[in-house]
C-alpha cells in the first residue's frame, strides 16, 4: 500500500504540467529522495507556481466576480430550499398530514423542482466560468467555492432546529446542498478542465436555459407569499396596482432582480467571451 507521503505527492503534483511532473518525478528517482522530502519539494514547487499564477488578473477576477457574490447566494438559496422541504416532509412522513402553506402539494412540488434545477444550472455555470477564467488556479478557487457554499448559512439552520440535528432528517439540508450545488459545481469544474470554452451553438441555448430557469425560480418562490396574501385578503388576489403600491413588493423585486443578475452573470460573461472569440475566428478566416 502506498504511504500517505506518496499519495500526497501524487495529488499535489496533478496541478503541474505533465512534462514538468515527469521531469520532477524523474529527478526524485535519480536523487533517491525520500517520500517525505519529495512531498515537501512538490509542495514548494506547487506553492511557487500558484503564487506566480496569482500575479495575473484572471484568478482575482474569478474570486471577486464569481466566488464572492455567487457563493453566499447559492448557499442561502440552497439552505432555504432545504429548510423549505424539511417541515413538509417531516409532517407528511411522521403524521400523514400536509403542512398547510396555502399552495397545493402539486404546485409545491413543481416549485421545488424548478428551484432545484435553477440552482443546479447556476452552480454548474458558475464553476464552469470559474475554471475557464483560470484553469490552473481553479483548484484553489474551486475549494473556496465548495467551502463557502457548504458552510455559509448552515449555522443558522443548526440553531433553528436544535436537537433535531441528531436525527437522520437533519442531514436533509446537507443532502440538498450536495445535490443541487456541490455536485453540479464539481461537474462544472470538471467540464472546464476538459474544454475551456463551449461551442457557440451550445452556449446560446445554455444561456437561454439559465435565464429561463432563473425567471421561473423567482416566480415560483413568490407562490407562498401570494398564497398568504390571497388568504389574508379573502378569496380575491391583490390587483397589480395594489401590489405596485406596496414597498415590500418593490424591495423583493429589486432583490430578486439583483440576485438573478449575479447568478446569471457567469454564463453571460462566458457567452460574451465566446461570441467575441467566435467573431474573431470568423474575421481571421475571412
Amino acid at each position: 500500500m502506498r504511504n500517505l507521503w506518496t499519495r500526497s505527492t501524487d495529488a499535489l503534483s496533478r496541478s503541474l504540467d505533465p512534462n514538468e511532473r515527469e521531469a520532477v518525478f524523474g529527478d526524485f528517482a535519480e536523487l533517491g529522495m525520500t517520500d517525505q522530502r519529495a512531498m515537501r519539494s512538490v509542495l514548494g514547487l506547487v506553492l511557487r507556481r500558484q503564487l506566480r499564477l496569482w500575479k495575473q488578473w484572471e484568478p482575482w477576477f474569478a474570486l471577486v466576480a464569481i466566488i464572492v457574490p455567487v457563493c453566499p447566494l447559492l448557499a442561502a438559496l440552497s439552505t432555504e430550499l432545504g429548510q423549505g422541504i424539511f417541515p413538509k416532509a417531516w409532517m407528511w412522513l411522521h403524521h400523514g398530514i400536509f403542512y398547510e402553506t396555502g399552495v397545493s402539494p402539486a404546485a409545491l412540488l413543481v416549485a421545488f423542482f424548478i428551484q432545484a434545477i435553477a440552482l443546479i444550472t447556476w452552480s454548474w455555470t458558475s464553476t464552469f466560468a470559474l475554471g475557464s477564467l483560470s484553469r490552473r488556479t481553479s483548484w484553489v478557487n474551486g475549494t473556496l467555492f465548495f467551502v463557502m457554499c457548504l458552510t455559509l448559512g448552515v449555522h443558522r439552520w443548526l440553531f433553528s432546529f436544535g436537537l433535531l440535528w441528531s436525527t437522520p432528517w437533519a442531514w436533509l439540508l446537507l443532502m440538498v446542498k450536495f445535490l443541487v450545488v456541490l455536485i453540479p459545481a464539481y461537474c462544472g469544474l470538471r467540464q472546464s478542465a476538459k474544454s475551456l470554452n463551449l461551442r457557440i451553438r451550445w452556449m446560446v441555448p445554455l444561456t437561454a436555459w439559465t435565464v429561463t430557469m432563473g425567471v421561473l425560480a423567482f416566480w415560483t418562490r413568490g407562490w407562498g407569499q401570494a398564497a398568504i396574501d390571497n388568504w389574508s385578503h379573502g378569496s380575491s388576489a391583490l390587483t397589480l396596482l395594489q401590489l405596485a403600491q406596496r414597498a415590500d413588493v418593490w424591495e423583493a423585486m429589486v432583490s430578486h432582480l439583483l440576485t438573478a443578475a449575479v447568478l446569471t452573470g457567469p454564463i453571460l460573461y462566458m457567452l460574451a467571451i465566446n461570441t467575441f472569440l467566435h467573431r474573431q475566428s470568423r474575421i481571421r478566416r475571412g
Binding site: 521531469a23 524523474g26 529527478d27 526524485f28 528517482a29 536523487l31 519539494s41 514548494g44 511557487r48
Partner: protein
C-alpha cells in the same frame, strides 16, 4: 542584473554542458555552495530564466535510472552567458581590493 541563484543556475548549467538537466544542476549547486537547494526554487528559476531568454529547455529521452522518466534538459543561450558574465564582473569588481579579514576584525581604515 541576475539574482544570486539565477547566476548559480546558469553557471552550473554552463559547466555541465550537454549534461545539464534538473537533478544534475541541483547536485552541482549543492556541491558548490554546500547548501540545500529545493526543486521548487530550481524549476521556478528555470522558468524565469527561460522567459527572459537566457536559457532554453526541452524534454530529453527517458532513462532507466529515472524510472523511465524524461529529463528537462537545459542549455545556456548567448543572452544568459552575457548576463552571467556581467554579474561575475560586477561581483569581482566589487570584491577587488576588499580585505575581508580587515573588515571582520574592524581594522579597515
Amino acid at each position: 542584473m541576475l539574482g544570486e541563484f539565477e547566476y548559480l543556475l546558469i553557471a552550473a548549467a554552463a559547466r555541465l554542458g550537454d549534461e545539464a538537466y534538473g537533478a544534475a544542476i541541483l547536485l552541482e549547486i549543492e556541491r558548490s555552495t554546500r547548501r540545500k537547494c529545493s526543486i521548487g526554487a530550481l524549476y521556478t528559476t528555470l522558468d524565469r530564466l527561460e522567459a527572459k531568454g537566457m536559457i532554453t529547455t526541452w524534454m530529453g529521452n527517458p532513462t532507466q535510472e529515472r524510472g523511465g522518466r524524461s529529463k528537462r534538459m537545459v542549455r545556456v543561450k548567448a543572452k544568459g552567458v552575457e548576463a552571467a558574465t556581467a554579474f561575475h564582473e560586477a561581483v569581482s569588481m566589487m570584491s577587488h581590493g576588499t580585505s575581508w579579514e580587515a573588515v571582520q576584525t574592524g581594522t579597515r581604515k
